[in-house]
């Protein structure tokens, strides 16, 4: 079973627009933007990974904190998609994250993200007891997404340490300080979230050279593997044994919805590993899943044939 932790779940709301108004300056009439199409689904990085895994028939349990009507909708969506749910209920309302996708500019969506409800101490204690129990059933745990108010930046480090003590492999799919602090707990794989800042700690991630240097730093600090996205269609995998560059040969114009593509990548890697592929093939499968998902309007492409076809277009080469 693969356990995913999403401390800050969200209801993802996508709007597709023909165009954005050229002038967004305040006017007397206000500004109305009409969406051509919309889509709603349970979200948050760990939840997305669970949804992807469940679509492949892999047993997965999603954990985190739910609250309010939004929490009820998230739970209902997850259960309908075959994900086992083990959440702690809190006061307040889960966040709604909005993505505006303008036709012709699908690879540059506009995001509006809420902070999420604060997590009280009592709920954290309850969560930790549930987490400890679920660890005994898990082969992997995925710690994913931004932390909501009220959680310490050491939250993921604590969870990673507890998992490691029980021999469960940890994937950290997050960013900022909470990610950096997990390194001493020796996670199996770290996948830094670089959507908002192209940095890993103090290290910049603009060029290939910088990405490799940052990946090596992550390995020196304790992570076994570090996978960093480089430009939209590339990833760089760093381990103690070497560096590999992976490139999906696809034009950006084929992309329809990028939200969730990096979660499909992590989900795809796990599918590969669980199904017995070696590490590089698993990462290739993950990249195939990410590209195939970016090419459909729904959050994920669940067509395995299409994922395999995209996987074949992913080139791998060992870096110097």
């Amino acid at each position: 079973m693969i356990l995913t932790v999403t401390p800050n779940p969200a209801l993802d709301k996508f709007y597709w627009l023909d165009h954005l108004p050229e002038n967004l300056a305040p006017s007397e009439e206000g500004i109305t933007i009409r969406a051509e199409k919309s889509l709603t689904s349970a979200g948050g990085k760990g939840i997305n990974v669970s949804v992807f895994l469940a679509s492949h028939g892999i047993e997965t349990v999603a954990m985190g904190f739910l609250g309010g009507h939004t929490g009820q909708i998230i739970l209902r969506d997850l259960l309908a998609k075959g994900v086992s749910a083990n959440f702690v209920w809190i006061e307040g309302e889960n966040r709604t994250n909005v993505a505006l996708i303008v036709r012709g500019h699908e690879y540059h969506p506009i995001h509006i993200h809420e902070a999420g409800p604060p997590i009280p101490q009592e709920a954290q204690a309850m969560f930790l007891r549930k987490y400890e129990r679920m660890l005994s059933r898990a082969s992997f745990v995925v710690l994913a997404g931004v932390l909501p108010p009220g959680l310490s930046p050491d939250f993921y480090w604590d969870l990673a340490k507890r998992a490691r003590e029980k021999g469960v492999r940890v994937i950290v799919h997050a960013g900022g300080e909470p990610l950096l602090r997990t390194f001493p707990a020796r996670p199996f794989l770290v996948k830094p979230d670089v959507r908002e800042t192209l940095q890993l700690g103090e290290l910049p991630l603009r060029t290939e050279k910088e990405v490799i240097a940052a990946g090596r730093k992550a390995i020196e600090s304790g992570a076994e593997l570090c996978l960093i996205s480089h430009q939209l269609t590339g990833d760089i995998l760093v381990s103690a044994d070497g560096v590999w560059k992976l490139e999906a040969k696809v034009p950006l114009s084929t992309f329809r919805n990028l939200v969730g593509a990096d979660d499909a990548l992590v989900g795809g890697i796990l599918v590969g590993l669980v199904q017995g592929m070696d590490l590089l093939e698993s990462v290739r499968y993950g990249m195939g899943a990410a590209v195939a998902s970016a090419e459909v309007e729904e959050k994920f492409c669940l067509d395995k044939e299409r994922i395999l076809a995209e996987m074949q277009r992913v080139e791998v080469r060992r870096a110097e």
Partner: protein, 143 residues
């Protein structure tokens, strides 16, 4: 059809030492009429239902009279909740766990619910650990 084909994979549950007042909030949030109670290993050791809690809040003479018509108001229940709200659910849960396994048939689950008068059943694996729940509506909606 097997239980695994239509179970609700909701692992909402309470621990034995969860205070009764918190259990009420959890029942409300989960939308379920009862919640499994688990031990440290995640094994289901009891079930706490709305009915169990109401029974715990009612004065003991109601049981003897088989009627609540003698209650002057709900204030008595409120007072009782203040008194026992911090007690662990373990004290009030039903210890006889009526559960099904994922491999059981829909007919077996339906029969169990009817015979025992239950609105829902926990689903457990071979080790007795919670893997989901089956509600009456889950069966009805598939007819």
């Amino acid at each position: 059809m097997r239980v695994r084909d239509f179970l609700r994979r909701d692992l909402s549950c309470l621990e034995k030492d969860t205070p009764l007042r918190q259990a009420i909030r959890f029942l409300e949030d989960s939308g379920l009429s009862s919640l499994p109670v688990v031990d440290e290993e995640g094994k289901v050791v009891g079930v706490i239902s709305e009915r169990d809690i109401i029974r715990a809040l009612l004065p003991s003479y109601v049981d003897m009279l088989h009627s609540t018509s003698f209650l002057p108001s709900l204030d008595q229940l409120k007072k009782k909740l203040e008194e026992i709200g911090n007690h662990p659910v373990e004290r009030y849960m039903t210890r006889e766990v009526v559960a099904v396994q994922p491999e059981d048939t829909d007919l077996y689950a339906a029969d169990l619910m009817l015979r025992k008068g239950l609105k829902q059943l926990p689903v457990v694996d071979r080790e007795g650990r919670l893997v989901g729940v089956v509600r009456r509506i889950d069966l009805l909606s598939r007819l």
